[in-house]
């Protein structure tokens, strides 16, 4: 009987409708139907187009950037003068914890993934990300984690142990209440979503590249995201494990971090930094990918040293796992261990330096047009080199011992993270905004944005080097006037306000250009990679016919006509599956249709995770609903997508 049903379904039209049977207009109309996203409020919850999910991710991460940024502005107002009574110590503890946690877990890592979710499928020439339903699930989980953290803060239950939540301070003895638990569970949410996105990206790049896009033709941003995704797979479980241990210590009386019962507080630091240091590179590596893409376009030639850049990305990825102990130099570890980690910390400067020189070589001798994306990239090079230099300094144990937990370290990592990742990110916003919205951002406002950001950032953070060398510790809510730190702090706070203003200018530019910006066209910058081969914004199916790639910059190599694939069915969501190394067409992969189950699974997961902050029984009554939603998600009723 079953076989009969299948036969009947197949018999109606076994070949389906193929793309080469339709006219150009007919093809687009048909694809539009097949790849359309559901509408209505229920449809809104089901959406699984990588571009829409990516856009939602980008907007949400910028909301968290604003929240985290406002927390920073509040702190700078408090520190602007000595003995200030504007903000008390308890709120200040929450503010710096919320700032760090938000920026790392809710902004920096997710925003890079957000751009990847949007761009990687376009750049490799496919129609959707691999596992689009998982992608939708990851977004809802991420949003739930962010709302949890900030709602708790609104009710004065904001995390207050610093973004790395060290024990014993965050343990049951010294952190009563639920603040530390909220933080630890927020970790579970954000890491779950990051892990899901990483698998999607790896699978998209491994199996859904345009035919002909061999390993040495993959755009550098895509390479960067593959390396980043692998780092996430190996690093994130460490923080999920340690934050679970922390919750267990606090909720059911385990003793992982309790020295009185054989536990060990440094176990937390090891596990946290085994995640935490690679985490920095999951922020920085995508940024370097953005830089490589933008530099090639503005220099109007392929990036110099493609192979060296790919190898640099991979070696940074591997080395990033050999550095974590340099966060623990003052914990009294064995000398030999410290020397090893000093060496590996300095070693990572080598591939980083290779990248910088390749970029300079690419730009060298070219007539440059200083449009806003390039300005931000040049600002990145300056700021990141400064951050890299202080990085080599704090890699050495004696120097680190001197400046540990001072503002010197704060200056260092803001130069690396803001200089090294946020500047490229802003370059990316200006560079890809036309693709995402179909309109250009204003260049005039753009230069204002850049100069305010560049000056504001340096005025805010450079003085912190000096304050740190003078001995000003991190995480103090105020300081006495006699220490003489007042004037430089005032300068720093003024710089912070200018820097904050630069983001207001960015928002202004975005809002204004979104409505009235110049129409971009397919390829406003004359770039060479595939995301520019389709319209701006791209249609739901990305490419009417999937491209075939014969060159690293396909749009520069194929100026007259684009080689394409034919033979895909268009009455269901087919795309080309290719082999991992040579990208030879292997299958007609069928992408799933949108479903409500990922959203329901995210809701069920959220209820269980939030419940387990308060009672361990939540795991017992919270798991069956998750199982039900997952079964609903994976169950098949013989949809069109399942036919052979």
């Amino acid at each position: 009987m079953g076989m009969a049903l299948v036969r009947r379904l197949m018999a109606t039209n076994p070949r389906g409708i193929r793309d080469d049977e339709l006219s150009e207009v007919g093809l687009k109309r048909r694809l539009e139907q097949t790849w359309a996203q559901p509408t209505g409020w229920l449809g809104w919850l089901m959406v699984d187009d990588h571009k829409i999910v990516g856009r939602r991710y980008i907007v949400t991460t910028f909301i968290f950037l604003i929240l985290g940024g406002l927390a920073a502005v509040a702190m700078r107002l408090q520190l602007a003068r000595p003995d200030s009574l504007l903000i008390g110590p308890d709120l200040y503890d929450q503010l710096f914890t919320m700032h760090g946690s938000t920026m790392m877990f809710l902004f920096a890592v997710p925003v890079m993934e957000a751009f990847a979710i949007y761009l990687v499928p376009l750049m490799v020439g496919t129609r959707n990300i691999a596992f689009p339903r998982l992608n939708a699930f990851s977004y809802w989980i991420y949003v739930a984690g962010g709302i949890l953290l900030w709602t708790a803060f609104a009710f004065n239950t904001g995390a207050d142990n610093g973004w790395f939540s060290y024990v014993p301070l965050a343990g049951p003895e010294f952190a009563p209440g639920k603040r530390a638990d909220i933080w630890a569970q927020m970790i579970t949410f954000t890491e779950l979503s990051a892990l899901a996105v990483s698998i999607e990206i790896i699978c998209t790049v491994f199996k859904q590249r345009a035919p002909g896009m061999t390993l040495d033709r993959i755009p550098l941003f895509v390479w960067a995201m593959v390396v980043t995704s692998f780092i996430v797979l190996f690093a994130m479980p460490a923080v999920m494990l340690s934050s679970t241990m922390l919750i267990l210590d606090r909720l059911v009386g385990t003793h992982f971090f309790n020295p009185a019962e054989g536990g060990d507080t440094l176990l937390w630091q090891h596990l946290f930094w085994f995640f935490g240091h690679p985490e920095v590179y999951t922020i920085f590596i995508p940024a370097t990918g953005m830089v490589s893409a933008i530099i090639a376009t503005f220099a109007r030639r392929p990036v110099f040293g493609y192979l060296a850049l790919v190898l640099a990305l991979i070696s940074i990825g591997i080395l990033s796992f050999g550095l974590w102990v340099h966060h623990m130099f003052v914990t009294g570890l064995p000398r030999l261990g410290e020397s090893f980690f000093t060496a590996s910390s300095m070693m990572i400067a080598i591939p980083s330096g290779v990248q910088i020189f390749c970029w300079i070589a690419t730009l060298w001798g070219r007539p440059l047009r200083f449009a806003t994306p390039l300005l931000f990239v040049l600002g990145f090079i300056v700021n990141f080199v400064l951050g890299g230099l202080t990085g080599v300094m704090v890699a050495s144990v004696p120097l680190d011992t001197q400046v540990h937990d001072t503002y010197f370290v704060v200056a260092h990592f803001h130069y690396v993270l803001v200089g090294g990742a946020v500047f490229p990110l802003l370059a990316a916003v200006y560079y890809w905004f036309p693709k995402i919205t179909g309109r250009m951002l204003s260049e005039t406002i753009g230069s204002w944005n850049f100069w305010l950001a560049f000056i504001g950032f340096n005025v805010a953070f450079f003085p912190m080097h000096i304050l740190g060398l003078w001995g000003m510790p991190r995480r103090v809510y105020t300081y006495p006037a006699e220490l003489g730190w007042g004037p430089l702090n005032l300068v720093s706070s003024a710089g912070a306000l200018v820097f904050a203003a630069s983001f207001a200018v960015l928002l202004l530019n975005v809002f204004q250009s979104f409505r009235r910006g110049a129409v971009a066209g397919d390829n406003p910058w004359g770039a060479g990679t595939l995301e520019w081969a389709t319209s701006s914004p791209p249609p739901p199916y990305n490419f009417a016919l999937q491209p075939v790639v014969n060159n690293r910059e396909p749009l520069w190599a194929e100026r007259d006509s684009m080689p394409v694939v034919t033979g895909l069915r268009v009455d269901r969501r087919e795309l080309v599956g290719t082999s991992v190394t040579y990208a030879e067409a292997e299958t007609r992969e069928v992408a799933p249709d949108p479903s409500i189950w990922p959203f329901l699974a995210a809701v069920a997961t959220t209820i269980m995770l939030v419940g387990s902050i308060f009672t361990p029984w939540a795991v017992v009554w919270g798991t069956p609903p998750i199982a039900v939603t997952l079964i609903g998600w994976f169950w098949r009723k013989g949809e069109k997508e399942d036919l052979d």
């Binding site: 009987m1 079953g2 076989m3 049903l5 299948v6 070949r15 193929r18 080469d20 691999a130 596992f131 990483s198 790896i202 699978c203 491994f206 199996k207 859904q208 797979l233 994130m236 479980p237 460490a238 999920m240 494990l241 241990m245 267990l248 009386g253 385990t254 003793h255 992982f256 309790n258 019962e261 054989g262 536990g263 060990d264 176990l267 596990l271 081969a533 075939v548 006509s561 684009m562 080689p563 394409v564 694939v565 034919t566 033979g567 895909l568 599956g577 082999s579 991992v580 067409a585 292997e586 299958t587 007609r588 992969e589 199982a627 098949r636 009723k637 013989g638 399942d642 036919l643 052979d644």
Partner: protein
Amino acid sequence: MKTRAVIDVSALPTWAFASKSLMWWGTLGFITIETSGFGLGLASYLYLAQKAQEWPLAAPPPDLWPGIIMTVLLLISLLPNYVLKGSARAAQLASTRLGLVIMSLFGLLPLIVRVFEFRALNVSWDTNAYGSIVWLLLGLHTVHIGTDAVDTLVLTALMFTNNGYMKRRFSDVNDNAVYWDFVVVSWLPIFFLLYWFPRLVG
């Protein structure tokens, strides 16, 4: 831009096994994450053991029998699992269905043995750090058995519906079997650390 057709994919299959299948790579991705999690859990165990004056802390080592029964049971399950993979790859519906029923049982049986394992640990999670880490490791592995058991049951049910005639389901069966191999293999280092390590160093 104008286009020119250079590759015709109309004759390509719409599903495939192993490295040609997207889901296989996704499964491998999850296995990587979980390997990383298990590895860090085992490292935490060794870290705590190396910090302690005695090991196990204030408790006798776990009783061996439940652990041995579990290990033997899991190792035996590899055989029907291997046969099931063969049936799936040959797209033989009847033997695949039978294999899935057998593997569903092999998914459920260890969960019963696991109850006795927890009782044989001779320590509670809140006794000391040793108790905490052994409960965590055993719990983590139990979650994996449970997840795969449910997964196998659902897939078995699916294969008995009309959907069993859809060829791509055989690829799903293969991926599910690969995951079970991982559940078994990941148990071996945990078995060694939990049951034998305390006896070797104690």
